[in-house]
């Protein structure tokens, strides 16, 4: 490895920038947007795991995000639990529900799985919306506390929250990196490639899909729990279908089935829609076509397109050598 620009070095550089960045800015707005971006990226990684790598596009993702957020919200606000305890319990709740839903949903395939989970996501939304005794209905949950301090580290300033979220994001990316670069990850990709073939080479596809699905709900729940403590107010809208589609948009623009896609896509779209704010009422007039064009001209997303380009260049090089 004599090359300087490797994925690894690039990641380290980016991480260093992300760590140093808050030390050089007081712009809370920028920190706020980055923090939100980190939260969404975590959820998008979950979507990528089940949809991008395992080939089962789940559209219930915002639902699990909502379950994670409401679990944390209810456990802290109504039961007065410490955030960290609530987060752990919230993740257990989310993954337990994910497990049960996965058992049934994963029996369906392709579009049917997508729409099945779309329905499940909508049902989760309706439950959060209508089950007022538990969730406060449309009013939502107010006053969710910031994460409790860990020792001397508090999380009540935007900067510290930024670091907390960055920490979780890096953790998630690290996990995804480890998983996808092992035979476990290859197993998922084999399932995406052809379930039939995977079965005949001895892969228990249902079990593997379950693991992948539950882990994806884990990421969604984690992201939701962090969101609850960051925005500190949650309403049923956070689990609405459009949120799933936002996540899917981030993923596709970034590159489905790539490790860097979720972050790239989320950063790009979130900032793009911020920059288009000056258009006010009509920003969708620009944003909509822009999105469509991106999809048409970068069908593999940014990270996927880059990978293709690099692969092609490698092939060309090797052809020239021959």
């Amino acid at each position: 490895m004599e090359k300087v620009v490797t994925n690894r070095n690039l990641s380290i550089l980016l991480l260093a920038i992300a760590i140093l960045f808050p030390l050089f800015t007081d712009n809370q707005y920028v920190l706020h947007i980055f923090s939100l971006t980190f939260i969404w990226t975590i959820a998008v990684h979950g979507l990528n795991l089940i949809g991008g790598f395992t080939g089962q596009l789940s559209l219930a993702h915002a639902g699990f995000f909502g379950i994670g957020a409401y679990s944390v919200g209810l456990l802290t606000v109504k039961m007065g639990l410490n955030f960290w305890l609530a987060l752990v319990l919230g993740l257990i709740i989310t993954t337990a529900i994910g497990f049960v839903i996965g058992l049934v949903a994963l029996r369906t395939k392709e579009h049917f799985f997508a729409i099945y989970t779309l329905c499940v996501g909508y049902i989760i939304y309706l439950l959060l919306y209508k089950w007022e005794e538990l969730t406060e209905g449309v009013r939502g949950l107010i006053g969710i506390p910031v994460p409790a301090p860990i020792g001397p580290i508090t999380f009540d300033t935007p900067r510290n929250q930024y670091y907390l979220l960055l920490f979780f994001l890096v953790l998630v990316i690290f996990l995804m990196h480890r998983i996808m670069n092992s035979i476990i990850g290859r197993t998922y990709i084999a399932i995406r490639n052809s379930e039939e073939l995977a079965e005949t080479i001895g892969i228990a596809t249902m079990k593997q899909k379950m693991v992948s699905f539950v882990l994806s709900t884990f990421f969604a729940g984690l992201s939701g729990g962090l969101y609850a403590a960051f925005v500190r107010f949650i309403g049923p809208d956070i689990s609405y279908i459009s949120v799933t589609f936002d996540m899917l948009m981030y993923l596709i623009v970034g590159g489905m089935g790539t490790l860097s896609g979720p972050l790239i896509g989320t950063l790009l779209i979130v900032w793009l829609s911020q920059y288009l704010q000056f258009l006010q009422n009509y920003r969708m007039l620009i944003f909509g076509p822009l999105l469509t064009l991106l999809i048409i001209f970068y069908p593999r997303g940014i990270a996927g397109g880059y990978q293709m380009w690099r692969a092609k260049r490698l092939i060309k090089k090797s052809q020239q050598l021959m």
């Binding site: 939100l36 209905g137 449309v138 009013r139 939502g140 107010f233 006010q280």
Partner: protein
């Protein structure tokens, strides 16, 4: 300081430089600029609502600027209204408020929906800005947030007169069909005990989700099968009008209690007249109740937008002027605490022609106290039956 002007579209990094430049430029001119923020739904399903609220603010700002601005402590200020779209999503409101604060140093941010208000209340005390909250949600002022002004009135005052009128004219059986928003639910919860206490009976308790239901025949049929004398309806005027229409189509002959969010005149416009509204009680529409001194506002708005101003426009128009008066009284455009303390002074100083609603008092929790005006439809006419 709060005296810089800036267009919101500038890029983040260049921002400070340009700020500086523009600020220098401003200094040479006479008037300084104060930025006022707004974050509401400008796209998506709630865009109409957001535009209505914004239109009142814009009108007030244009008037103030055209008149050469306003004076605080010897300096003249013009207002730059910075409006951002949040698609009705709380986290977007939060981000917008941060942005308004960071890049435009807005001392006041208008937010016209409860979710967004909650999300901004999380940090408005710490970050020091006023949330100009257009929502009737009680929790907004119940939280002890000392930098929140609740603009719309509490609606409790409507309940008794509406109840009395309907019971007397139509009977004691009521069916509930309000909008499925928090506002509708709060209304229903307030109406219920009063109606019961007066010997009435609630024969059907439902709500309609205007964002999800394509047709209301089903629920109206179900409500009417309980033979109510009165229907409680409400939400945005236009879909509320449809509920009324469909109830009439299904043979309902009784009266309507109409939540204050919907306006009798707007409903009549949809229904092509007041025929179907016979026996309705609701808030007195601006169009009917407008005082002579507010006629200019009414006419100007109509000229600019081609329609009568609704209460969203009216309240926002009024409250923009109110904040200007409060800044004057506070002697500062960039000290939210001082402005907040001087709202009462602002109310006292505000001229009647800007008081589209005759608000004279702010409560300790930040709620404005609005006198209610009540109307009923009798023989095809909207009649003011307000009793002081």
């Amino acid at each position: 300081s709060g005296t810089t002007s800036n267009e919101p579209q500038n890029e983040g990094n260049k921002k400070t430089e340009e700020n500086q430049e523009q600020a220098n430029e401003e200094k040479n001119k006479e008037a300084k600029t104060v930025n006022i923020g707004f974050s509401g739904p400008l796209s998506g399903p709630a865009a109409f609502y957001g535009e209505n609220t914004l239109s009142g603010l814009e009108m007030a700002v244009d008037e103030i600027n055209d008149a050469g601005g306003f004076e605080v402590n010897g300096d003249t200020y013009k207002i730059n209204l910075v409006s951002l779209d949040d698609k009705y999503l709380p986290n977007e409101t939060g981000a917008n408020a941060k942005r308004l604060l960071q890049e435009n140093k807005t001392p006041i941010v208008f937010v016209p929906h409860s979710g967004g208000i909650f999300a901004t209340q999380v940090f408005n005390m710490q970050d020091n800005f006023i949330v100009a909250a257009y929502s009737s949600e009680p929790a907004i002022t119940a939280q002890g947030n000392s930098l929140t002004v609740r603009i719309p009135p509490k609606y409790d005052g409507y309940i008794e007169p509406f109840t009395d009128y309907q019971m007397e004219r139509f009977g004691k059986k009521i069916a509930f069909l309000p909008t499925a928003t928090q506002y509708g639910k709060d209304w229903a919860e307030t109406l219920e005990p009063v109606w019961k206490k007066k010997g009435g009976e609630i024969v059907y308790n439902g709500s309609i989700d205007f964002n999800k239901d394509t047709d209301f025949f089903t629920i109206v049929t179900n409500a009417l099968k309980e033979k109510p004398d009165v229907l409680f309806v409400g939400g945005p005027s236009e879909p509320t009008a449809l509920v009324i229409k469909q109830a009439r189509e299904l043979g309902f002959k009784g009266g309507f209690i109409i939540m204050d969010q919907a306006k009798l005149d707007e409903i009549a416009a949809v229904l092509g007249g007041t025929d179907m509204l016979e026996g309705s009680s609701g808030t007195l529409p601006l169009a009917v109740s407008i005082e002579p001194e507010n006629q200019k506002f009414f006419d100007d708005y109509k000229a600019a937008h081609g329609k009568d101003p609704g209460s969203e426009a009216g309240y926002h128009y009024f409250s923009m002027y109110l904040f200007v008066e409060a800044m004057k009284a506070a002697g500062s455009v960039d000290d939210p605490k001082a402005i907040m303390e001087n709202i009462q002074a602002g109310l006292d100083a505000l001229s009647e022609d800007k008081k589209i609603y005759k608000v004279n008092e702010i409560e300790a929790d930040g709620g404005l106290v609005t006198p209610l005006r009540i109307a009923v439809v009798e023989e095809g006419k909207i009649v003011d039956i307000t009793v002081d």
